[in-house]
């Protein structure tokens, strides 16, 4: 591969730089690949995320089900509210809730029930198999309401079109499989498959009790003559102004899935950090390649100097070359990254449950280019600065070269500046700047630490007692001699192992958390929507069937935070950890005592029978995230009524116990007379057996058709499979980083190859056998590998622990086996890569090499 020349008239540095590159890009392949990989990761992640965001935005109407959506919890819209909506366009009503579907032979399944009116859907298309008319499918025939079901529900309960299921106290006939539901995403993650029926059928089930956990969605289609975003915003503002007590969640098509968009943004940031790591690891390869290039060009540089080039000119010639290489690498990375959304949409579009709209994102690509160039400069400037001081006398004798030392201050300052710019860019553009700042700090610390580890290894090798074995003696000497491979191998291998162990440990912890052993006292079931008037009977029923199990039951309502400490919810600037509390309605309860599973850390609990102004107990971390303290007022909209309570105390909650707990626990007098249902959990000692759990579901479904039973294991399985998909994306991005690490390692070992050939030839001339040389080199790589792997496992585990406990707020469990296997694998790869080069060195005929020395 050769390089085109720049036009005449460009500067001397440009001209000389490109003339020099005519010899081809040999020696730059690792450089280009490292930059290309990192830039590709960042450009690709940015482009895919951009395409996803665009898809979500363009299909906002379809996803939301209207130009605007108004959601109420636990209550239907009043006549006044309906009048408001109908005056502004066409309205479609849908109600969603969880329910138990039962077959005639007693099989049960938790379903996400959705009841719609005849206007549904206002946008998008429902697809059914068989049939194409939803009103037909849902119509009452022979006194039985119709329903359509997600194919997974039909498989789970072995249902065919025409089969019947019972929901609450109504029987529904399944008429078709629901193969496309246009507004499915708006509902978020469901724990069960969809069962779609008519509003009349829902009313017939008897599930609509006061306080039942039902969401009513009113979708509005604006009149055809004014469907602009402005018109949608005007309606939203008018709704807030004219009906301030409604407490509804208003969304416009531009803001159809705010939580999903935030999640995509956050996840993108996480993947970008992994991509940046790939670029940083690649930066080590860049540094090595530049050093190797300048070593090879030593004679040319000296010749330039002998012919009148000053140091600055030599520096600019090679800077131009390095920037040209960085541009080539970045261009390759950008081209692949830009194509990634199209490739993903073409190959996996049907499998991804999100609307991806492949498009070109110049901003993301420019950012990736900037990252690529900054990384190249940050890692190249240091070795490049040394080129300025290569003496012209190097033409006469090699020994004239002074001992290696740092470059001039200006290059050190330039390097620091480039690193600072990289860090500033990563932090400034991050969704969560704290996380990005931690990442930057950790990255710098790891680089410094790895340098220290390499220095310590060389020091230990230098002072190690003289080994009797010649091979071992040679191996130890190779570790500490001048121009040893130790620093580069330790850096690339150490980073690779540390990252691999971090990903493996996080992956393992997440999988264990959501799929394997549950916490010891974790409940087997959550029972939702227990009607107040049946709570005592339900209590007795369950206790009789599971006398040894722990049964807990609390009242539950749903409420939205309207304002906190006088600030409207939409104007609060919450921390990333606490934002979810404001995003939709939350479960709330009232209690006389501190709930189990939580601990009072500030303030006093109210006295039994307290009858003063409403008080609330707030979860400490969430209160901190919302900038709240004791005594601050919180206004919550419950069942269309705003209730204001003061924070009496703060609690710390152990969410992972999976027991019943709430962010907000009110004093019992706060909701006196408000209709509500009860929530209960049942925990078998030592965990329930499938037989026990199956029998209980069946019994409850038969005796209490209104009660929804959520089996914790199934819910965790649903989350687990989602986590698996996320982990897959992380694994993919990490694989790029590992590839970069392997490239750097391979490049470093290849750079040492010339020295190996020289050593091998001289030693063979002096009588060394091939076996001995092989043993010496193998031992060297083994010693380096083991020492570095130890560091990699320790630092990777620490990083995983930090991420899991501090960022994810989960319990960390260290898995020794996968970490050790990863480290072992990395050592084998190192020895393998090292010995491949050595075999070639051993095969060289000494005379041929000696003639050319």
């Amino acid at each position: 591969m050769s390089v085109a020349l720049p036009a005449r008239g460009s500067s001397i540095a440009m001209r000389f730089a490109f003339r020099e590159l005519r010899g081809g890009l040999r020696g730059f392949y690792v450089f280009i690949a490292c930059i290309a990989l990192g830039v590709m990761a960042i450009a690709g992640i940015g482009s895919v995320a951009g395409s996803l965001a665009e898809g979500l935005a363009r299909q906002g109407q379809v996803i939301l089900g209207g130009d605007l959506s108004f959601t109420l919890v636990q209550r239907e819209a009043t006549a006044q509210e309906m009048t408001f909506l109908k005056r502004r366009g066409e309205v479609s009503t849908a109600a969603t809730m969880r329910a138990m579907a039962r077959t005639a032979d007693g099989r049960t399944a938790l379903v996400e029930l959705k009841a719609v009116d005849s206007n549904y859907p206002l946008f998008g298309r429902i697809e059914l198999t068989p049939g194409d008319s939803l009103p037909d499918a849902l119509a009452m025939r022979d006194g039985v309401y119709g329903a359509v079901a997600d194919p997974t529900l039909m498989t789970r309960l072995d249902l065919k079109p025409g089969a019947r299921v019972t929901i609450g106290s109504a029987t529904l006939e399944i008429r078709a499989a629901l193969t496309n539901e246009p507004d499915k995403l708006a509902g978020g993650i469901g724990f069960g498959p969809r069962l779609l029926t008519s509003e009349a059928a829902l009313r017939a089930t008897g599930l609509l009790q006061p306080g039942s956990l039902v969401h009513w969605h009113y979708r509005l289609k604006l009149p055809a003559d004014d469907t602009t975003d402005n018109a949608a915003n005007t309606v939203a503002s008018a709704a807030r102004a004219q009906l301030p007590q409604a407490g509804w969640d208003i969304r416009t098509r531009r803001n159809a899935t705010p939580r999903l968009e935030r999640d995509v943004e956050r996840f993108t940031e996480f993947l970008t950090i992994v991509g940046l790591t790939a670029l940083l690891v690649g930066g080590v390869g860049v540094g090595n390649a530049v050093k190797g290039h300048l070593d090879r060009k030593r004679e040319t540089i000296a010749t330039f100097k002998a012919l009148g080039a000053d140091g600055a000119r030599v520096f600019s010639i090679y800077l131009v070359q390095i920037l040209a290489m960085a541009l080539i690498g970045s261009a390759i990375g950008i081209a692949i990254g830009a194509a990634l959304p199209y490739v993903i949409a073409a190959l996996f579009g049907a499998m991804i449950p999100l609307p991806i709209d492949p498009s070109f994102h110049p901003g993301e690509l420019a950012l990736a280019l900037l990252y690529g160039l900054l990384t190249a400069v940050a890692f190249a400037l240091w070795p490049l600065g040394r080129a300025q001081d290569i003496p012209a006398g190097a033409l006469f004798r090699d020994t004239v070269a002074p001992a290696p030392r740092g470059p001039r201050r200006i290059y050190m300052a330039g390097t620091m500046l480039a690193i600072a710019a990289l860090a500033a860019l990563a932090v400034a553009l991050a969704y969560d700047r704290r996380v990005a700042a931690i990442y930057v700090g950790v990255a710098v610390a790891v680089f410094v630490l790895l340098r220290l580890v390499a220095a310590a290894l060389m020091l230990i090798a230098r002072h190690a007692p003289r080994a009797r074995s010649t091979a071992l003696r040679m191996a130890v000497a190779n570790i500490h001699r001048p121009s040893a491979l130790t620093p580069t191998v330790v850096l690339s291998l150490g980073l690779g192992i540390a990252l691999l162990v971090t990903v493996i440990e996080i992956d393992g912890t997440l999988r264990k958390q959501f799929t394997a052993a549950l916490p010891e006292k974790a409940p087997s079931f959550y029972f939702l929507d227990i009607p107040s008037d049946q709570a005592a009977r339900f209590d007795t029923f369950v206790r009789q069937r599971a006398p040894d199990a722990i049964y807990e039951e609390v009242p539950m309502l749903r409420g939205r935070i309207v304002s906190a400490n006088g600030v409207a919810a939409e104007n609060i600037n919450p921390s990333a950890d606490a934002a979810w509390v404001l995003q939709s309605d939350r479960g709330i309860t009232y209690a006389n005592d501190v709930p189990r599973g939580s601990r009072l850390v500030e303030g006093q609990w109210w006295k039994p029978g307290y009858d003063g102004p409403p008080l609330v107990s707030f979860e400490k971390r969430i209160a901190d995230g919302l900038h709240l303290k004791l005594g601050d007022p919180i206004t919550v909209n419950v069942l269309g009524r705003n209730i204001t309570a003061r924070i009496a105390n703060l609690r710390l909650v152990d969410w992972q116990s999976l027991g019943i707990n709430f962010v907000m626990v009110f004093s019992p007098n706060s909701f006196r007379g408000a209709p509500h249902t009860h929530l209960a959990t049942l925990a078998y000692p030592g965990g329930g057996t499938p037989a026990q759990e199956g029998a209980m579901i069946k019994a409850v479904a038969g005796a209490f058709p209104m009660v929804t039973t959520v089996r914790v294991k199934e819910a965790l399985d649903a989350i687990g499979s989602l986590i698996s998909n996320l982990v897959l994306a992380i694994d993919g991005a990490s694989a790029i980083t590992l590839l970069a690490a392997a490239l750097v390692l391979g490049g470093a070992l290849a750079a040492g190859h010339q020295h190996r050939v020289y050593d091998a030839v001289i030693l063979k001339t002096l009588g060394a056998t091939r076996a001995m040389l092989l043993a010496a080199y193998g031992l060297e790589y083994l010693l380096l590998g083991v020492a570095t792997a130890f560091f990699g496992v320790v630092s990777g585990s620490l990083a995983a622990w930090l991420i899991v406990t501090d960022l994810m707020h989960l319990r960390f469990s260290w898995l020794p086996m996968p970490a050790l296997i990863a480290a072992g694998g990395a050592i084998i790869v190192t020895i393998g890569l090292g010995l491949i080069g050595t075999f070639a060195a051993l095969g060289r005929k000494p005379a041929a090499v000696l003639r050319n020395l």
């Binding site: 330039f304 002998a306 012919l307």
Partner: protein, 232 residues
């Protein structure tokens, strides 16, 4: 002080001492060298291997700094110049021909010769380079890369490169060392022709007594000291 020239010296060395290496490997290479070379003269530096000939040439070129003493070339005190100023000075005033040619392998013959001219900011560097190559008989090889040229041709390119900026001083370190006798003779003829045409001061390091005899003055070195200095 030896001074065979009646003209203003092109090179003036006084009290030069140079040691290389460290500790037990420290070698005193040049010892108390005083030498004046007049403008436009030809000097052969001869002596056994390790006597310090090449090192003395490097000192004259400003490629090596002596531990003591002063070096003046074309009236400039080299020790007063920093590394970069030295490089610029060399580009304009000193031409060097190496035993191993030291051409830049990725540049054509023409580009190699143009390098010092371009670095010195000369007008029409390519035209001058082309003329210089024609002068050494390589008019038809200007676009060839070093690897496409024979050893003799490479050394002619190196000579053209050294002469192109019209240097005050031309230094040649064993210029025929890597060439056969016939080719070596052609190079030496070109070297002397270039010197005669421009009036450049020529200093030549060689083992070859016949070559040294073509110089107006021969300086003998032995163990880092001037052991003899006279006309050929």
């Amino acid at each position: 002080m030896n001074d065979f020239s009646q003209t203003k010296p092109a090179i003036a060395l006084a009290g030069i001492n140079l040691t290389l290496g460290q500790g037990a490997n420290r070698v005193h290479i040049l010892k108390d060298i005083d030498l004046n070379i007049g403008t436009g003269g030809t000097v052969g530096l001869v002596g056994p291997s390790g006597s310090g000939k090449s090192t003395l040439l490097m000192v004259m070129a400003g490629l090596e700094r002596p531990d003591t003493g002063s070096v003046a070339v074309a009236g400039h005190e080299l020790q007063k110049l920093d590394e970069d100023a030295l490089a610029r000075f060399r580009g304009r005033n000193i031409g060097i021909v190496f035993q191993s040619f030291h051409l830049i392998p990725t540049m054509t013959a023409l580009e190699n010769v143009a390098v010092p001219l371009e670095l010195a900011g000369a007008a029409a560097p390519e035209k001058t380079a082309r003329d210089e190559l024609a002068a050494v008989g390589l008019a038809d090889r200007v676009n060839h890369y070093p690897a496409e040229l024979s050893g003799g041709e490479q050394q002619r390119v190196a000579l053209a490169r050294a002469l192109a900026p019209n240097p005050a001083v031309l230094l040649a370190d064993e210029p025929t060392g890597n060439l056969d006798e016939e080719t070596g003779k052609q190079i030496v003829d070109l070297l002397f022709a270039g010197h005669a045409r421009r009036g450049t001061t020529l200093i030549l390091v060689t083992h070859d007594q016949a070559l040294a005899a073509r110089c107006g003055r021969i300086v003998h070195l032995r163990s880092g000291r001037i052991d003899g200095d006279g006309t050929a």
